[in-house]
Symmetry: C2
Subunit: 480 residues, 2 copies
């Protein structure tokens, strides 16, 4: 029998059915926000990270301007980041203990639709497979079958293959830099084994001897996953600068709002280096790495990067969305999410998870503030050395980027901006609708301000140009 | 080199380190609650399901009385349910599309510690592997490695093997009944394929032709997962009774409070029948299938059973915990969780997930109500035909069970009970502490009561005997 056209055309890219048009169409409303992970970005590589963010914004904005949805934009933005070897997702991800890229990714939209993949090998663009799962989740299937919205491991690869979704090889996902880093970690493990055999106790409980494990080739203690040194154990910043190494913890993310008023968010990650094969991290988990809440009048989304094992029990992206959704002071809400919900839940007697908790959160909120006007607020926070962010709105000619840095203890940077958009409900105007240039920029502050006075000055900065002013460093305790 | 004793002894069963003793020790405080899934339990098999629940309670209570923690009790209770072929978890689980048992399980305790496994083959007791992951998550590892708290697929089996956790074979997990059901579903699929080939359009978009798929042996539409018919599509109850079939949707669960005042909750499931290999369901997901919140003065937990794909975006167990934690009317809170948070988020234009949403939620809350007295409230709700539940407290000589049933539209059953316990903080008394027998039983109501008047009558029923009175059926609109 001659093959016929597959009856389920690939809706993955640009071609998504826009079944949820909300009654308005505002080319001016399009916006995209991306981050390339929280951690430590070396100053030498800073431009590489920011360029990746810029490229992601541009691709997403082109999609939005062509009428694409926020879900399209998030997928495209993250694809660009995945394809760039500088980020820890897709091509160039950290390798797991077996030297394989195993990807986590998730995407969620205004309608509560979700798609996610976890610990998935052989997929060039995990975010696109997650998007594919999302699209399929609303398609009826024969025999009362509910299509899955979370697939993992080799089963996810089988799923992709059967659905004619492109499947790659493990080798094609390994970047040169990831291979080098992997070899380095392997050497460290070998060194540690030698020390173990010599009976030198390390400062941590020592790993079981290799020879105990019979057929297994892995030491017991290594069955977990390796984390690049966290900021606390790092040498001071000057040495790091000389070393020219990036220590980006985890995960890229994107949030978009489209001209139809809908929001989407997504995350993608190669996970922590030398991780246990099969380990699933926050980027795959709705409510932990990615979350969207939309009640029409108001909507909020958050994407999170950091040490996943410390985030799971706090459902941190959902918590960030809930706090920011309910708050009139989004910067303060973000601070509470990091200090109370995240850091407050760590440590002995609480979530007694070993390791240093690190987090970076990017969040966007949109709400009707007065007749026909909608306020879009962008807010981020991190307790890592740096957090790479970028944004672009339809009125920007180029993306705006920022490498938010903080170097002194206690580490916490909170920043944000906002923008008022004039909405003309249920009209379709070809020209740009009359814009209200009145936007406010939220103040930026750090942990030292215990009762932060957010500078809600009404001025003329747009969201994007506001972003430029958000470079934080708590050396001077205020935004630069 | 001669093998030495493994340096990380198996802490999995009964032997957990009780590092979090809270300063009091109340043998009277021990309690265990279990459910064996929401769905449709045939009257013929009803006793089998309830016997499984009873056995689970007895094993857990023995553990608690021997000084075990709530985490031990939850693990033991679920192990008993897993080992019973009548439940859809462990031995006797539904088979996936490849005829293999792939398990989801998760466990969480008062301290925010979590452990979870997803789509994991070859594990006899998935809850014990989840518990193992939980224990390991707080143990330091060499080389800054953070131990995983969620492992999936074959990677989870590797993890188990390396940690000397028992690994079984796929064959040993397949019960006779599961094999028969699998064959039946296979025949249905074959029938559908024949109909497809004959060009007869089904009422749903038809599956792509097998022959289109080249090397793949699965039809495109079957790459998702099969769901046993939901209540809506079922023949009327009389026919069902004749058929003597169980249609239990998903997932068993347990919640326990121990004499140290700590709470734990867990879930385990074989997932939906004929599921996509690699599909992860709610039982593996913290916040979706299992959640615990503990702030000392007050604590709450919820475990959920139902159609997983409809639960994910609502983070329904966390939502149930939050509502019930904050509410003074737990029955009303449970009703809102099912009607607003769960059902209210379904359908076109919202979470447009295909299939019939079905849910059963079991929740427990404990809080200090007056000096030295702690109120333990048990509340459950379901919109399925039936929900099998049981409870046991340290003052009970035998577990109390209930098969909550509801048969008329609109289907909703809400029930619960509560019990006051006299606490004597920071004392260790060998005899039973003076008990306050004053307990109240919460009223039971169904969807027809739009403003439910919970009958908070102070009477002498205990939590367990309260349970007996909770058999609901909205044919008469009140508890029987």
């Amino acid at each position: 029998m001659a093959p016929r056209q597959n009856e389920l055309p690939d809706q993955s890219l640009y071609t998504s059915v826009r079944q949820y048009v909300s009654g308005y169409d505002h080319p001016d409303y399009n916006c995209i926000f991306v981050h390339a992970g929280a951690g430590y970005h070396s100053t030498e590589n800073e431009q590489k990270h920011l360029r990746a963010c810029r490229n992601a914004c541009q691709a997403a904005m082109a999609t939005l301007k062509a009428g694409g949805t926020s879900t399209d934009a998030v997928e495209i933005a993250i694809r660009v980041l995945e394809d760039d070897p500088v980020t820890n997702c897709g091509y160039g991800s950290n390798l797991n203990f077996d030297g394989v890229v195993e990807a986590d990714a998730s995407i969620m939209d205004s309608f509560g639709r979700t798609g996610a993949v976890g610990a998935t090998p052989q997929i060039q663009n995990p975010i696109s497979l997650a998007r594919f799962v999302l699209e399929r989740s609303s398609q009826p299937m024969a025999l009362q079958r509910v299509p899955p919205n979370f697939v993992v491991g080799p089963g996810a690869v089988d799923y992709a293959r059967e659905q004619h979704f492109p499947v790659s090889t493990n080798e094609s996902l390994v970047a040169h830099s990831a291979r080098i880093q992997f070899s380095k970690w392997q050497k460290e493990i070998e060194y540690q084994e030698i020390m173990e055999r010599r009976g030198k106790a390390l400062d941590r409980p020592r790993a079981a001897d290799f020879s105990l494990l019979g057929a297994s080739t892995r030491p017991i203690q290594e069955a977990g996953s390796a984390l690049p040194p966290t900021t606390k154990e790092l040498p001071g910043t000057p040495q790091l600068l000389e070393q020219n190494v990036d220590l980006v913890t985890d995960t890229v993310g994107a949030i978009s709002i489209d001209r139809y008023g809908n929001m989407a968010a997504g995350s993608s990650s190669g996970g922590i280096g030398m991780k246990q094969p099969g380990r699933v991290g926050p980027a795959a988990l709705i409510g932990v790495g990615t979350f969207v809440k939309d009640r029409g009048e108001r909507q909020a989304a958050a994407v999170v990067s950091g040490t996943g094992e410390h985030m799971l029990h706090t459902l941190i992206s959902a918590q960030a969305v809930n706090r920011i959704y309910d708050s009139n002071d989004e910067l303060d809400a973000m601070k509470k999410v990091i200090n109370e919900d995240f850091m407050g839940s760590q440590g002995y007697g609480k979530a007694n998870i070993w390791g240093e908790p690190a987090i970076g959160i990017m969040s966007v909120k949109a709400e009707n503030v007065s007749s026909g006007k909608r306020l879009i607020s962008f807010v981020f926070g991190h307790n890592t050395d740096s957090f790479a962010l970028a944004s672009m709105t339809s009125s920007d000619t180029a993306p705006k980027t920022i490498m938010s840095r903080v170097s002194r203890e206690p580490k916490l940077a909170i920043g944000g901006s906002s923008r008022l958009v004039q909405m003309q409900i249920k009209t379709h105007i070809e020209e740009n609708p009359k814009k209200d240039k009145t936007s406010k920029r939220l103040g930026a502050h750090d942990k030292k301000c215990h009762v932060p006075p957010p500078t809600k000055a009404e001025n003329k900065t747009t969201l994007a140009s506001g972003l430029e002013g958000l470079h934080l460093d708590n050396r001077d305790g205020e935004s630069s």
